[in-house]
Amino acid sequence: MSQMGHWVYNTVIAGHQMSFNLDTIFTMWFAMGVIIIFAIIATRKLTLIPSKLQALCENIMQFFWGTLDTMIPNKNRQHVPLVASLFLFILFANLMGQLPLRIIHLKTGELASPTNDLNLTAAMAIIVLVYYLFMGFKTKGLKYLLHEFSFTGIIMALVEILEMITRPLSLAIRLFANIFAGEILVSVALGLSAYLLPLPVMLFEILVAFIQATVFMMLTIAYISSATGEEH
């Protein structure tokens, strides 16, 4: 299973050794390009009586608005850009793993879904961390970290600081490990019996793609909600 590695490009930028996973970058831009082209086509001719494509997009927006409305009490629709783009990007990126992109041969590695790279998921988790910290400090000021100056307040602040590490770590590893384990599972099934066994596993992976995108979005909303909501 040596093909599980990445197509790494090493270079030196400003005196630092950098390595880029070129296959991840390519598939990531592919997924983003699909979403961008879809969005441009869908929003080109907006009419009051929606066409089929516009109705589909309105339903997608209704899904995000409904989820945000149920989980964040007030001023919730300002979070739609982050939440919606995270969900759509992760969904398309996960589903890309089931496309037959592997027929394009690389020197090392293979073109699979970009979320099987820990660097990408960690970057998204750090974006979520920065966003919810920013929203927390914006709505509550310094009280977000230390809401009362007492023994329990300080302990709670320390727990909060610990959560700043564990939350992005678990977000990143959850998404990465699900997709990575799926690919290993497909390759193990392929080793047992070709064509017959991998097909149901790949169908299951499509389900996993939807579930993991939803889980990432739900956890993002929950973290934003706990950062901006009332203290109890």
């Binding site: 599980m4 590893i173 959850r174 490990a177 699900n178 290993i184 579930i211 993991q212 939803t214 889980v215």
Partner: protein, 80 residues
């Protein structure tokens, strides 16, 4: 002193043990989640669709615990 070859073999053994113990927790978690789903549906059958969505979310969250163990195992075996 154990030589390098034996260490590699022992690391593979460790990977197997890691994924095994991780799977215990995730299996228990999904089992409890299914029990909760069945209880909810038998009490209130009309809530089945909504409860199943939450069940999938909870099952995915507890399954992630096994996948943390899987990452450790993959690291030990040398898959990544």
């Amino acid at each position: 002193m154990i030589d390098t070859n034996t260490t590699m073999e022992l690391a593979k053994l460790g990977g197997g043990i890691a994924i095994g113990f991780g799977a215990i927790g995730a299996g228990l978690g999904i089992g409890f989640a299914t029990k909760g789903l069945m209880d909810a549906i038998s009490r209130q059958p009309e809530i089945a669709g909504k409860a199943f969505g939450f069940f999938l979310l909870g099952a995915a969250l507890s399954e992630a615990c096994a996948l943390y163990a899987f990452v450790v195992a993959a690291k030990l075996i040398g898959l990544m």
